[in-house]
Symmetry: C2
Amino acid sequence: MSPTPTATELAPALLVDSSPFLKAIVQQIRANDAYGTYRNWADELLLKPYIVSKADKKDIPLEDEIDPLTKSRILAFYRAIAYCIEQETGSLAQVVIDLNHEGFGWALVFAGRLLLVSKTLRDAQRFGFPSLEKMSAEGEKLVQKGIELAKKYPEVGEL
Amino acid sequence: MSPTPTATELAPALLVDSSPFLKAIVQQIRANDAYGTYRNWADELLLKPYIVSKADKKDIPLEDEIDPLTKSRILAFYRAIAYCIEQETGSLAQVVIDLNHEGFGWALVFAGRLLLVSKTLRDAQRFGFPSLEKMSAEGEKLVQKGIELAKKYPEVGEL
């Protein structure tokens, strides 16, 4: 008899299905998968590199240039936020990530003249979250704040 | 007898003195001159690389990665705009330049949640102006528009 999957084993897949934000990141990753490398990968496997423990972070040197894969993960994270805000407000949102060689910089999401997300990034080489739940919560928080701003200042968002 | 300088020869120095925007760019360049390379250079000489004729532009290949010196000129241009807006409105403005390998991207100046300048850049390898007058006019236009927005939406600019 094969062992019954425990709650912990099932959790990631269920979590992705229940989080519009995590699904939006998966969508971003698949949209950029021009060669179909990830076609047969489960959603939760695509999100796995976003989970970086405290111990893992310590092992990533800050002296090195930021890894292009890390940069594309940061971009997909903020593009997913832009997408979720767009779905709710209907206004087109742009994403700009500006990082210097030391992994410091800005992540901006904007519509018209309104900054929906304005985050300073530091130690971007170590970008990641302790768990999918934490990532989902962080993303949803930024999405909600963005929607709130877009609704409060619609005129600025449409300039 | 040495020849009397003509109006055209005098123009650049006079122009820089009369344009707060051009003076702000010079200030940016001197602020970044850690080794004093430009200490004895006249202002108009520092601004010379910003003047790129149509013919010069054609000679700059778009296939190459953007020259770091060109990138720093773009940054100084938009930092000067941020500085001039700050002088008028008193609110701190940030500058973000995001360029991809093909020289496409964004130049953003923002205060709080308000985008004071939002410009798409293309062919950034060829960044430049036909004359100092044109550069001054373009900069002043962006400064005025930024000040106008900051005054119209003070609440968003202070978020």
